[in-house]
Amino acid sequence: MEIPYAAGATRTPRASLPPAVSTLEDPDRDDDAALLAGLRARQPAAFERWVRREAGRLLGVARRLLRNEDDAREAVQEAFLSALRALPQFHGEARLSTWMHRIVVNAALMRLRTRRRKPEQPIEDLLPAFLADGHHAAHPCEWALSPEALLGREETRRLVREAIDHLPESARVVLVLRDVEELDTTTVAGLLGISAGAVKVRLHRARQALRALLDPHLRRGDL
């Protein structure tokens, strides 16, 4: 299986957000070489160590894309087997963790493509409306609280996740890949088989739609 990886493909740095989860720390860097040697030598202990090191994080990635626990676990399982098959073609162009991240994203996207699509609200219904002269049809209001104040509440996190789940899938996937998994536009375009321009349009629409879904709750200070 060809693993789509572009040398130099980057994660987009994310400003002013809590650290740690969004960056790949390097305690595993020294481990990579020894781990790779063990994997290429088909050592069972190396494989188990690799799974224990990566699977939890990869499960989080798969969950965010698939929103179904069974599917997410199966995607992670498929990802490890795919990675083993592709190992002869991996020459250390990227960190092992980065490479695995890409593989599990691919595995999750392949699962999404085989799923039956449920009826979705057209994203156009969630985009802002404008008058003939270009002014907002409904004047936007600022939200009552900052993200930092809101995110301490489980109710907010649940609301936001539900709003993201409500997005049309093509929009939701781009939002997750770009804004959460921090894959750059070119990489996302390759993974989805669409143009970079299409990625940008979908992302912008997804963000607008998310704002629209959250607005009725956050402007009233419900949370």
């Binding site: 992670v76 936001v160 996740r161």
Partner: protein, 81 residues
């Protein structure tokens, strides 16, 4: 610049992908349009809320591998060619 145009190119503006002339037009529109100031703030906040909500976890040990998943992966490896 209209509000419609402002919203249409908002992502490029926030990404710093506009020319200085174009950014200047955006800045001038923001200075005169409280509605677009509010819209932009909500747009940015929605991005941050989405990121943080999806990355937060309620699991007791974030990043832990469920043992059943580990076992399934190891079993699959054994039976793979």
């Amino acid at each position: 610049m209209t509000c419609r145009e402002f919203v249409e190119f908002l992502a490029d503006y926030l990404d710093g992908a506009l020319t200085s002339d174009e950014s200047g037009r955006f800045d001038r529109h923001l200075a005169a349009c409280p509605s677009c100031v509010a819209y932009m703030k909500g747009y940015r906040d929605a991005i941050r809320l989405g990121q943080a909500a999806l990355l937060s976890t309620d699991e007791p040990v974030p990043g832990a591998v469920p043992e059943k998943l580990l076992e399934a992966i190891l079993r699959a490896r054994e039976s793979a060619p």
